[in-house]
């Protein structure tokens, strides 16, 4: 049973902070048997990419435009700053577990 997750990491430039958190998420979830594929994007690109239908969730460090994304959306700044990091991991892990369950 594969535990594959397609993550969209969103930050202002679609590069620096989204890369930081995508890498951490891949590592941490990897330790728990998940295989995470991460794509980085800017907030303006998020809706279009999500509509393409290939992502399971969004983690962001810059605000996302208000929209119906249809997937779980999690604030990743806790991971960046270390503040509220435990709560971030809790929420993320609960979310990916549900995603995998939903895909069975």
């Amino acid at each position: 049973m594969s535990k594959n997750i397609n993550l969209l990491a969103v930050c202002g430039s679609g590069t620096v902070t989204s890369s930081m958190i995508a890498g951490e998420i891949q590592d941490e979830l990897g330790d728990e048997g998940y295989s995470v594929r991460a794509t980085e994007a800017r907030p303006t690109e998020a809706k279009q990419l999500i509509d393409g239908g290939k992502f399971d969730l969004i983690v962001y460090t810059s605000p996302l435009p208000k929209a119906e994304y249809g997937v779980p959306v999690i604030n990743g700044t806790g991971l960046l700053t270390g503040i509220g990091e435990d709560e971030f991991w809790d929420e993320l892990k609960k979310t990916v577990a549900k995603i995998i369950d939903g895909n069975k």
């Binding site: 430039s13 590069t15 620096v16 890369s19 700053t81 270390g82």
Partner: protein
């Protein structure tokens, strides 16, 4: 490639009236060394309007100004501690403003290929002890030593 600092890009007690002014001052040596394109400082400053870079850490606020990789030819992280705090908007809530006295200007030429560097940097931010020490230092060499000693070298 590991996260490396260079003394020429470390600025203790920098005088600046604003975030933009600090960015311009920090960019001078980068431009001279050819690590960034001439548009770099303008791009970094312009980006702040839409995607501000103020971060609230556990016991201080920092700014991590940056822009797209196309304006960077060589990856480098510049560090500054400021004589006076400057105002910056919060990354996660652009309507909120913070005062920052420390800045890490991140110029990355290859974000996908240099994720390790970014993550090492992230770990430094979360080392509050280290951040306090850096704030208190007056010499570029001392800051360089502190940061270098605390950068965890990840093995491939």
């Amino acid at each position: 490639m590991n996260l490396k600092f260079e003394q020429q890009f470390i600025y203790p007690n920098l005088d600046a009236e604003s975030y933009a002014e600090a960015i311009r001052k920090m960019s001078k040596n980068l431009l001279k060394a050819g690590f960034v394109s001439p548009e770099y400082p303008d791009q970094v400053i312009a980006r702040e309007k839409d995607f501000p870079t103020g971060l609230v850490l556990a016991n201080m606020n920092i700014g991590i100004p940056h822009t797209e990789a196309e304006f960077v030819s060589q990856t480098v992280v510049s560090v500054a501690t400021l004589n006076k705090p400057v105002k910056v908007h919060s990354m996660i809530d652009p309507d909120e403003t913070l005062q920052v006295s420390m800045m890490f200007m991140i110029a990355v030429s290859d974000p996908k290929g240099q994720v390790k560097i970014l993550r090492e940097l992230m770990r430094l931010f979360q080392n509050q002890d280290l951040m306090q020490k850096v704030m208190a230092e007056n010499s570029a060499n001392e800051i360089y030593q502190l940061l270098t000693a605390n950068t965890v070298k990840e093995t491939e």
